[in-house]
Each structure stands twice: as structure tokens, then as C-alpha cells.
């Protein structure tokens, strides 16, 4: 009886599914699922952009919705308390197989998250940016030190953001990032990780690390102009760079992608 029922059920489901006409699926195939029209970016020469031999491999994507503001309205240099529901909304947007974040950093309407595998996601005001590392697994850091990693991304429509993040050694309680324009950004430090980000292409120059042992200053790798190679205006492409200080790691494959346009570079 059960076998017969199961057999009939398979037939009934197949009958009903057959009502979907080829026109419907053709319509779905023809849609553009990317927020903007696409064009292929030229391959950014990340070597020329200054990826050091110890650079952390990263893949990054920025997806900017139509409501995205180039100015990242509401962003703050110091982390802010999340609004009710902000973290849940961010987790839904950033839904990932990497599980729940080990750290969330909120700055006004923007939520940046870092996951245990080192991947990150930032979303808010119609903007989403993701990066993932291929060098999963972190070395044991000395107490009071931090690993210096970062990505910088910019596109031809004037959107740009820079993010620094990484694991911290035992006893680290605070990290303040100094930028190339002389201003500073306070990082969120939690669960053995730190993260800070800002709109624009200013480089991180140093990190002032506060720990139970006192304070120290670590210098970020010298980064080249993140605008090079530049994207032609209106071309809807992205350029970027990645850097890292983890010892013993070699540079890996890097992907910069924006709204489906992507370019890959192995080094």
C-alpha cells in the first residue's frame, strides 16, 4: 500500500510540476541577477599593487545595491551599540556556511562580521562586502600582538572601503588603527579577533595595541595606491589589494569581484 502510494505521489508531483512551461524557466534564465549591468574588469596586477610575500590570500566581493550611498552615511570611527534587530538582519544578509560570527562590529547602520574561518562580511544601507581567506588556520600569536591583514576595494562608481582585521594574541584588549590621513579608527576586539573598517581608500599605517602588558605600536605593510589599476569611469569594475603579516604564508589567489564582474590573480 505504502509503495503504491509513494509511486502515485511521485507521478502526481511530476504531473503538477509539468505545468511549469518552458516560457517560465526561459524568463527566469534571461533575468540579470546582479544589481547592476556587468562588464569585465581588467586583471588587477596585485603583485604590482604590493602584495608582500607574506600576504594573506583573500577573496573579496562588494555588492552595492541601488540605494548604496558612496558616502557610507552614518558610518562612525568608533564602534556603536547595535540597534535592536541589527545583528539578526546582518546575519540574514550575510548568511554563510561559516556559521555564526566570532566578532561583530557595528558602526551606525553598518555591521561587519568576522567568522571563525577568517572570512568577513560587511552590510548596511544596501551595501554588502565579503572577503574570504584561503589560508584558514591562524598561527599562535605572541601575547599582546595582533596579525595585520586587510583588504581595500574600490569601484568605478566611487564606492570604496578599507578593512583591517585578524586574530589577536592573549591579553589584547584594544586596537586603534592610524590611517594615512592622520585620523584614527577604533577597532572592535572580541573573542580573539579585531576588526575595523572605513569608507574610502586611506591606508592603515599603524595599529596601537593595548594589552594587559601595556601598549605597543605595530606597522602595517606599506601599501601602494589602492586605486591602481584604476577602473575606467562607468565601466562598473573594481580594483583592490590585500595584505597580511602572517609569517610563513605565501601569497595566494585573489579575487576581486563586483556585481558579478570578477578578475582573478594568482601570485
Amino acid at each position: 500500500m505504502s509503495d503504491r502510494l509513494e509511486q502515485d505521489l511521485r507521478g502526481a508531483l511530476a504531473d503538477r510540476a509539468a505545468r511549469i512551461t518552458p516560457e517560465v524557466t526561459a524568463r527566469l534564465r534571461a533575468l540579470d541577477y546582479h544589481p547592476r549591468s556587468r562588464s569585465w574588469a581588467s586583471r588587477p596586477a596585485l603583485g604590482a599593487l604590493g602584495l608582500t610575500a607574506a600576504a594573506a590570500a583573500a577573496a573579496a566581493v562588494i555588492v552595492l545595491g541601488s540605494s548604496a550611498s558612496p558616502a557610507f552615511a552614518g558610518w562612525t570611527a568608533n564602534p556603536t551599540a547595535p540597534f535592536p534587530g541589527q545583528l539578526a538582519a546582518a546575519q540574514q544578509t550575510c548568511e554563510t556556511s561559516a556559521g555564526t560570527p566570532v566578532l561583530t562590529d557595528t558602526r551606525g547602520p553598518y555591521t561587519a562580521s568576522i567568522y571563525a574561518d577568517g572570512s568577513t562580511c560587511m552590510e548596511g544601507n544596501g551595501i554588502m562586502s565579503e572577503s574570504s581567506r584561503t589560508d584558514v588556520g591562524t598561527p599562535t600569536l605572541q601575547a599582546g600582538t595582533i596579525e595585520l591583514n586587510g583588504t581595500g576595494q574600490s569601484d568605478s562608481d566611487g564606492h570604496a572601503l578599507t578593512m583591517v582585521y585578524g586574530p589577536v594574541g592573549a591579553g589584547v584588549t584594544g586596537v586603534t588603527i592610524a590611517r594615512s590621513d592622520g585620523t584614527s579608527v577604533e577597532a572592535t576586539v572580541k573573542n580573539g579577533w579585531y576588526l575595523a573598517w572605513w569608507p574610502g581608500t586611506e591606508h592603515a599605517t599603524t595599529a596601537r595595541v593595548t594589552s594587559t602588558n601595556g601598549t605597543s605600536t605595530e606597522s602595517f605593510p606599506t601599501t601602494p595606491s589602492p586605486n591602481s589599476p584604476s577602473c575606467p569611469a562607468g565601466a562598473h569594475c573594481a580594483s583592490g589589494y590585500g595584505f597580511g603579516s602572517a609569517p610563513g604564508r605565501s601569497a595566494g589567489r585573489t579575487t576581486m569581484q563586483i556585481s558579478g564582474a570578477s578578475s582573478n590573480t594568482g601570485s
Binding site: 505521489l9 508531483l13 503538477r16 510540476a17 511549469i20 541577477y33 555588492v63 548568511e95 558579478g260 570578477s262
Partner: protein, 168 residues
Amino acid sequence: MTDFDQFVAAHVDDLMRTAYLIVWDESEAEDLVQECLLKIARRWPRVRRMEHPRAYARRVLVNQALDGARRRAQRRSELEPDASASPIAVDPLPAIDTRAELLQALSQLPARQRTVLVLRYFNDLTETQVAEVLGCSPGTVKSSASRGLARLREALQPLPFQPRSTET
């Protein structure tokens, strides 16, 4: 053609048919598939590295469908506290054979129970694979499928003969 476009071309038919069988409405299913593919596009750099991107897409689709069903049920209970829990309208066509009766009965199942049956008997997934899509245990899938089949079986039973009352 990008690899994302290839992914869409290869799987959109399966996603659309699955969505249609879960939500029982073509327009709603089409909207669901669009939303699902928009999400996949946003996460494509990550999704493309997954071992089973299609399984991930199914999970996104099913989660959206069940979220929608939950929201509709909540709205209905707020508007009509005594309303039946049936999530979708009855197919107006009369049941003319077993398959038609089955479909009518299937349309009356709670969305999650129907989803289990669709994934098992249309998509031909194992109980373990269905559990991965739904984020529950294989045991839960097994009992849910068993309950769903029992309700379908009941619906196919001929109505017992009821003699007309002779009282006047």
C-alpha cells in the same frame, strides 16, 4: 557565459518546479526563485567553492518558502483567530482520479510537511539530504514524511457509507 550563468541555466528549471510544488502558486514560485538566485548571485564567490552549490540553492529556496508560509500563517491567525491552518487554497478542480485526489490532499498539508514530501518524492533526495536542506535531523524528516503519507492515505480512503436518515 559566466559560471554563475551556467549554474542558473543548469538548475533554474529544478528550482522553479520545486518552488511551485512547495508554494502551489506559479507567480509566487517565480518570485521565490528570483529572490533565491539574487541571493546566490550576491554570494557567488563563496557558493561556487561549495561542494554542492545546488544543495545550497535548494536550502535558500526552501527557507524562503517556509519563511513566507510562516508569515502568511501568522497574518491569518491574527486576522482570523479560528481560521483553518491550511496554508493554500483548495484546488477548484474536482478530484477525478487518484493523482488528482493526491494533489488535492497534498495542497492541504502544512507547508513543512508538503516540503518534506516534495523533496523526497519529486527531488528524490534521501532522508539525510532532506534533513540537510531543512536543517533538522533525519529522524525528524522520517517522522514528518510518515505523517504526511498517512494524511494522504486517509484522504484517499473511500468515504464510509452513511445511510440516509429515515426519521421525519
